[in-house]
Symmetry: C2
Subunit: 144 residues, 2 copies
Amino acid sequence: MTKADSKKKKTCLSLSEIESRLVIAGIQPTAQRIAICRYVLCEADHPTADDVKTWADQNFPKMSLATVYNTLGVLVGARLLKELKLPHSGSVIYDDNVSQHFHFLDEKTGELHDLPASAIEITPRLKRGFRVSSMEVLLKGSVG
Amino acid sequence: MTKADSKKKKTCLSLSEIESRLVIAGIQPTAQRIAICRYVLCEADHPTADDVKTWADQNFPKMSLATVYNTLGVLVGARLLKELKLPHSGSVIYDDNVSQHFHFLDEKTGELHDLPASAIEITPRLKRGFRVSSMEVLLKGSVG
DNA sequence: ATATTTGCAAAGCCTTTGCAGGGGA
DNA sequence: TCCCCTGCAAAGGCTTTGCAAATAT
Protein backbone atom coordinates (compact mmCIF):
# COMPACT_ATOMS: atom_id res chain seq x y z
CA MET A 1 0.00 0.00 0.00
CA THR A 2 1.46 3.33 -1.00
CA LYS A 3 1.49 6.37 1.18
CA ALA A 4 -1.14 8.01 -1.04
CA ASP A 5 -3.36 4.98 -0.77
CA SER A 6 -3.12 4.97 2.96
CA LYS A 7 -4.88 8.29 3.07
CA LYS A 8 -7.93 6.93 1.35
CA LYS A 9 -10.55 6.20 3.90
CA LYS A 10 -12.41 3.58 1.95
CA THR A 11 -12.54 1.43 -1.10
CA CYS A 12 -14.08 3.10 -4.07
CA LEU A 13 -17.05 1.39 -5.63
CA SER A 14 -17.76 1.49 -9.34
CA LEU A 15 -21.00 2.98 -10.54
CA SER A 16 -22.37 -0.43 -11.37
CA GLU A 17 -21.44 -1.75 -7.97
CA ILE A 18 -23.29 1.13 -6.40
CA GLU A 19 -26.25 0.52 -8.64
CA SER A 20 -26.51 -3.11 -7.68
CA ARG A 21 -26.18 -2.27 -4.02
CA LEU A 22 -29.16 0.01 -4.38
CA VAL A 23 -31.20 -2.53 -6.31
CA ILE A 24 -30.41 -5.23 -3.78
CA ALA A 25 -31.58 -2.88 -1.07
CA GLY A 26 -34.85 -2.39 -2.96
CA ILE A 27 -34.09 1.18 -3.92
CA GLN A 28 -34.61 2.58 -7.39
CA PRO A 29 -31.17 3.52 -8.64
CA THR A 30 -31.85 7.00 -9.91
CA ALA A 31 -29.06 9.23 -11.09
CA GLN A 32 -29.32 11.40 -8.00
CA ARG A 33 -29.16 8.44 -5.65
CA ILE A 34 -26.20 6.89 -7.39
CA ALA A 35 -24.37 10.19 -7.28
CA ILE A 36 -25.04 10.68 -3.60
CA CYS A 37 -23.94 7.13 -2.86
CA ARG A 38 -20.75 7.66 -4.71
CA TYR A 39 -19.96 10.57 -2.48
CA VAL A 40 -21.27 9.21 0.78
CA LEU A 41 -20.04 5.64 0.43
CA CYS A 42 -16.74 6.33 -1.28
CA GLU A 43 -15.43 9.80 -0.83
CA ALA A 44 -16.90 11.41 2.20
CA ASP A 45 -16.02 10.99 5.81
CA HIS A 46 -18.95 11.55 8.15
CA PRO A 47 -20.66 14.13 5.94
CA THR A 48 -23.66 16.21 6.85
CA ALA A 49 -26.59 16.86 4.52
CA ASP A 50 -25.00 20.18 3.79
CA ASP A 51 -21.73 18.54 2.81
CA VAL A 52 -23.64 16.34 0.41
CA LYS A 53 -25.43 19.34 -1.05
CA THR A 54 -22.19 21.20 -1.52
CA TRP A 55 -20.62 18.23 -3.23
CA ALA A 56 -23.67 17.76 -5.42
CA ASP A 57 -23.65 21.39 -6.49
CA GLN A 58 -20.15 20.85 -7.81
CA ASN A 59 -20.54 17.36 -9.20
CA PHE A 60 -24.09 16.93 -10.38
CA PRO A 61 -26.08 18.94 -12.91
CA LYS A 62 -28.81 19.98 -10.53
CA MET A 63 -30.03 18.56 -7.29
CA SER A 64 -32.38 20.08 -4.79
CA LEU A 65 -31.77 20.09 -1.08
CA ALA A 66 -35.02 18.18 -0.62
CA THR A 67 -33.65 15.40 -2.76
CA VAL A 68 -30.50 15.29 -0.72
CA TYR A 69 -32.45 14.87 2.50
CA ASN A 70 -34.86 12.47 0.89
CA THR A 71 -32.11 10.30 -0.51
CA LEU A 72 -30.16 10.24 2.72
CA GLY A 73 -33.35 9.21 4.47
CA VAL A 74 -33.90 6.41 2.01
CA LEU A 75 -30.35 5.18 2.47
CA VAL A 76 -30.72 5.23 6.23
CA GLY A 77 -33.98 3.32 5.91
CA ALA A 78 -32.22 0.69 3.84
CA ARG A 79 -29.39 0.52 6.37
CA LEU A 80 -26.77 1.62 3.92
CA LEU A 81 -26.10 4.55 6.20
CA LYS A 82 -26.43 5.30 9.85
CA GLU A 83 -27.55 8.63 11.22
CA LEU A 84 -25.44 10.15 13.96
CA LYS A 85 -26.55 13.00 16.13
CA LEU A 86 -23.56 14.07 18.11
CA PRO A 87 -23.48 16.73 20.77
CA HIS A 88 -20.92 18.95 19.12
CA SER A 89 -22.80 19.51 15.90
CA GLY A 90 -26.26 20.78 15.23
CA SER A 91 -26.46 18.72 12.06
CA VAL A 92 -27.06 15.07 11.52
CA ILE A 93 -23.93 13.23 10.43
CA TYR A 94 -24.15 10.29 8.07
CA ASP A 95 -21.91 7.31 8.60
CA ASP A 96 -21.38 4.65 5.98
CA ASN A 97 -20.01 2.33 8.60
CA VAL A 98 -23.21 0.57 9.58
CA SER A 99 -21.67 -2.06 11.81
CA GLN A 100 -21.34 -1.71 15.55
CA HIS A 101 -18.60 0.75 16.30
CA PHE A 102 -17.85 3.80 18.38
CA HIS A 103 -16.54 7.28 17.83
CA PHE A 104 -13.73 9.49 18.95
CA LEU A 105 -14.04 13.22 18.59
CA ASP A 106 -10.88 15.25 18.41
CA GLU A 107 -11.93 18.33 20.29
CA LYS A 108 -9.20 20.45 18.76
CA THR A 109 -9.87 19.75 15.12
CA GLY A 110 -13.47 18.59 15.25
CA GLU A 111 -12.47 15.45 13.40
CA LEU A 112 -14.50 12.36 14.07
CA HIS A 113 -12.68 9.04 14.06
CA ASP A 114 -14.31 5.66 13.87
CA LEU A 115 -13.27 3.24 16.56
CA PRO A 116 -13.80 -0.45 15.88
CA ALA A 117 -15.99 -2.21 18.40
CA SER A 118 -12.87 -4.01 19.60
CA ALA A 119 -11.27 -0.72 20.64
CA ILE A 120 -13.49 -0.47 23.66
CA GLU A 121 -14.25 -3.08 26.19
CA ILE A 122 -17.53 -2.21 27.77
CA THR A 123 -19.37 -4.15 30.42
CA PRO A 124 -22.67 -2.87 31.71
CA ARG A 125 -23.57 -3.88 35.22
CA LEU A 126 -27.21 -3.03 35.27
CA LYS A 127 -30.03 -3.66 37.65
CA ARG A 128 -32.41 -6.50 37.02
CA GLY A 129 -34.74 -5.91 34.14
CA PHE A 130 -32.57 -3.67 32.06
CA ARG A 131 -31.96 -5.16 28.64
CA VAL A 132 -29.56 -3.45 26.30
CA SER A 133 -30.17 -3.55 22.58
CA SER A 134 -27.57 -1.07 21.44
CA MET A 135 -24.86 1.18 22.74
CA GLU A 136 -23.52 4.49 21.64
CA VAL A 137 -20.15 5.59 22.84
CA LEU A 138 -18.42 8.84 22.09
CA LEU A 139 -14.98 9.50 23.43
CA LYS A 140 -13.74 13.04 23.37
CA GLY A 141 -10.18 14.14 23.63
CA SER A 142 -7.20 14.89 21.51
CA VAL A 143 -5.01 13.01 19.11
CA GLY A 144 -1.41 13.79 19.80
CA MET B 1 -37.48 5.56 53.65
CA THR B 2 -41.13 5.13 52.82
CA LYS B 3 -42.44 3.84 49.55
CA ALA B 4 -43.63 7.30 48.61
CA ASP B 5 -40.23 8.75 49.34
CA SER B 6 -38.55 6.19 47.16
CA LYS B 7 -40.34 7.58 44.14
CA LYS B 8 -38.82 10.96 44.57
CA LYS B 9 -35.96 11.37 42.22
CA LYS B 10 -34.07 13.91 44.28
CA THR B 11 -33.88 15.83 47.46
CA CYS B 12 -35.87 19.01 47.46
CA LEU B 13 -33.98 22.15 48.20
CA SER B 14 -35.48 25.09 50.04
CA LEU B 15 -35.66 28.43 48.35
CA SER B 16 -32.85 29.79 50.47
CA GLU B 17 -30.69 26.79 49.71
CA ILE B 18 -31.24 27.41 46.03
CA GLU B 19 -30.46 31.04 46.45
CA SER B 20 -27.17 30.37 48.15
CA ARG B 21 -26.22 27.85 45.53
CA LEU B 22 -26.73 30.50 42.91
CA VAL B 23 -24.80 33.10 44.83
CA ILE B 24 -21.93 30.71 45.42
CA ALA B 25 -21.87 30.04 41.71
CA GLY B 26 -21.62 33.76 41.09
CA ILE B 27 -25.11 34.04 39.66
CA GLN B 28 -27.53 36.76 40.61
CA PRO B 29 -30.44 34.99 42.28
CA THR B 30 -33.32 36.59 40.44
CA ALA B 31 -36.86 35.37 40.92
CA GLN B 32 -36.89 33.72 37.51
CA ARG B 33 -33.64 31.90 38.10
CA ILE B 34 -34.67 30.67 41.50
CA ALA B 35 -37.94 29.41 40.10
CA ILE B 36 -36.25 27.59 37.25
CA CYS B 37 -33.75 26.05 39.63
CA ARG B 38 -36.50 24.85 41.84
CA TYR B 39 -38.00 23.00 38.93
CA VAL B 40 -34.83 21.82 37.28
CA LEU B 41 -32.90 20.84 40.38
CA CYS B 42 -35.75 19.47 42.46
CA GLU B 43 -38.77 18.43 40.48
CA ALA B 44 -37.85 17.74 36.92
CA ASP B 45 -36.22 14.72 35.44
CA HIS B 46 -34.20 15.48 32.33
CA PRO B 47 -36.36 18.38 31.19
CA THR B 48 -36.10 20.23 27.91
CA ALA B 49 -36.30 24.00 27.58
CA ASP B 50 -39.88 23.50 26.53
CA ASP B 51 -40.64 21.51 29.67
CA VAL B 52 -39.24 24.36 31.71
CA LYS B 53 -41.33 26.88 29.81
CA THR B 54 -44.47 24.82 30.31
CA TRP B 55 -43.78 24.51 34.00
CA ALA B 56 -43.04 28.21 34.28
CA ASP B 57 -46.27 29.13 32.53
CA GLN B 58 -48.13 27.28 35.25
CA ASN B 59 -46.00 28.24 38.22
CA PHE B 60 -44.59 31.66 37.61
CA PRO B 61 -46.34 34.95 36.90
CA LYS B 62 -44.73 35.59 33.56
CA MET B 63 -41.56 34.33 32.01
CA SER B 64 -40.42 34.61 28.44
CA LEU B 65 -38.97 31.78 26.49
CA ALA B 66 -35.80 33.82 26.01
CA THR B 67 -35.38 33.96 29.76
CA VAL B 68 -35.80 30.23 29.99
CA TYR B 69 -33.05 29.64 27.47
CA ASN B 70 -30.91 32.35 28.93
CA THR B 71 -31.23 30.99 32.45
CA LEU B 72 -30.56 27.42 31.41
CA GLY B 73 -27.47 28.65 29.60
CA VAL B 74 -26.30 30.48 32.70
CA LEU B 75 -26.81 27.37 34.82
CA VAL B 76 -24.90 25.25 32.35
CA GLY B 77 -22.09 27.80 32.33
CA ALA B 78 -21.92 27.61 36.11
CA ARG B 79 -21.89 23.83 35.96
CA LEU B 80 -25.08 23.47 37.90
CA LEU B 81 -26.54 21.70 34.90
CA LYS B 82 -25.23 19.65 32.04
CA GLU B 83 -26.55 19.86 28.52
CA LEU B 84 -27.37 16.59 26.81
CA LYS B 85 -28.00 16.21 23.14
CA LEU B 86 -29.27 12.74 22.59
CA PRO B 87 -30.08 11.15 19.29
CA HIS B 88 -33.72 10.39 20.01
CA SER B 89 -34.75 13.96 20.71
CA GLY B 90 -34.41 17.11 18.71
CA SER B 91 -34.23 19.16 21.87
CA VAL B 92 -31.47 19.72 24.32
CA ILE B 93 -32.06 17.91 27.60
CA TYR B 94 -30.85 19.40 30.86
CA ASP B 95 -29.40 17.15 33.51
CA ASP B 96 -28.90 18.25 37.08
CA ASN B 97 -26.54 15.37 37.64
CA VAL B 98 -23.27 17.04 36.75
CA SER B 99 -20.97 14.25 37.82
CA GLN B 100 -19.62 11.63 35.46
CA HIS B 101 -22.39 9.23 34.64
CA PHE B 102 -24.06 7.51 31.73
CA HIS B 103 -27.56 7.12 30.39
CA PHE B 104 -30.00 4.41 29.55
CA LEU B 105 -32.83 5.15 27.18
CA ASP B 106 -35.92 3.01 27.41
CA GLU B 107 -36.88 2.80 23.77
CA LYS B 108 -40.47 1.89 24.55
CA THR B 109 -41.31 4.69 26.91
CA GLY B 110 -38.69 7.25 25.95
CA GLU B 111 -37.67 7.47 29.58
CA LEU B 112 -34.08 8.35 30.26
CA HIS B 113 -32.43 6.77 33.27
CA ASP B 114 -29.21 7.88 34.85
CA LEU B 115 -26.61 5.20 35.29
CA PRO B 116 -23.91 5.76 37.87
CA ALA B 117 -20.40 5.67 36.48
CA SER B 118 -19.93 2.42 38.36
CA ALA B 119 -22.65 0.75 36.32
CA ILE B 120 -20.42 0.52 33.31
CA GLU B 121 -16.93 -0.75 33.14
CA ILE B 122 -15.32 0.77 30.12
CA THR B 123 -11.79 0.29 28.93
CA PRO B 124 -10.63 2.06 25.80
CA ARG B 125 -7.83 0.36 23.92
CA LEU B 126 -6.77 3.12 21.63
CA LYS B 127 -3.91 3.64 19.27
CA ARG B 128 -0.94 5.62 20.39
CA GLY B 129 -1.59 9.32 20.68
CA PHE B 130 -5.25 9.19 21.50
CA ARG B 131 -5.95 10.87 24.79
CA VAL B 132 -9.44 10.71 26.24
CA SER B 133 -10.78 13.59 28.27
CA SER B 134 -14.39 12.54 28.54
CA MET B 135 -16.77 9.81 27.55
CA GLU B 136 -20.41 9.76 26.69
CA VAL B 137 -22.26 6.50 26.81
CA LEU B 138 -25.87 5.90 25.93
CA LEU B 139 -27.34 2.46 26.27
CA LYS B 140 -30.62 1.82 24.56
CA GLY B 141 -33.00 -0.98 25.30
CA SER B 142 -35.93 -1.82 27.46
CA VAL B 143 -36.65 -2.05 31.13
CA GLY B 144 -38.57 -5.21 31.87
C1' DA C 1 -50.73 3.48 -17.20
C1' DT C 2 -49.26 3.62 -12.66
C1' DA C 3 -46.25 4.33 -9.08
C1' DT C 4 -42.01 6.81 -7.70
C1' DT C 5 -39.08 10.42 -7.53
C1' DT C 6 -37.71 15.14 -8.08
C1' DG C 7 -37.65 20.21 -7.31
C1' DC C 8 -39.27 24.26 -5.42
C1' DA C 9 -40.98 26.85 -1.93
C1' DA C 10 -43.07 27.14 2.25
C1' DA C 11 -43.49 25.77 6.78
C1' DG C 12 -41.63 23.58 11.03
C1' DC C 13 -39.05 22.99 15.17
C1' DC C 14 -35.73 24.47 18.33
C1' DT C 15 -32.57 27.98 19.62
C1' DT C 16 -30.25 32.42 19.49
C1' DT C 17 -30.04 37.37 19.10
C1' DG C 18 -30.98 42.58 19.15
C1' DC C 19 -32.75 45.95 21.51
C1' DA C 20 -35.61 48.61 24.69
C1' DG C 21 -37.38 48.76 29.22
C1' DG C 22 -36.90 47.56 34.20
C1' DG C 23 -34.90 46.26 38.52
C1' DG C 24 -31.21 45.22 41.71
C1' DA C 25 -26.44 46.36 43.68
C1' DT D 1 -25.81 55.59 39.00
C1' DC D 2 -24.65 51.63 36.47
C1' DC D 3 -24.90 47.20 35.09
C1' DC D 4 -27.28 43.15 34.57
C1' DC D 5 -31.56 40.95 33.59
C1' DT D 6 -35.94 40.42 31.31
C1' DG D 7 -39.26 40.21 27.52
C1' DC D 8 -40.63 40.60 22.99
C1' DA D 9 -40.13 39.81 18.40
C1' DA D 10 -37.39 38.78 14.76
C1' DA D 11 -33.95 36.01 12.75
C1' DG D 12 -31.28 31.79 12.32
C1' DG D 13 -29.92 26.94 11.37
C1' DC D 14 -31.40 22.57 10.09
C1' DT D 15 -34.96 19.52 8.49
C1' DT D 16 -39.49 18.22 6.78
C1' DT D 17 -43.52 18.71 3.91
C1' DG D 18 -47.04 19.69 0.08
C1' DC D 19 -47.76 19.63 -4.40
C1' DA D 20 -47.00 19.70 -9.37
C1' DA D 21 -43.96 18.20 -12.96
C1' DA D 22 -40.86 14.72 -14.56
C1' DT D 23 -39.36 10.01 -14.65
C1' DA D 24 -39.16 5.08 -14.21
C1' DT D 25 -41.39 0.44 -14.38
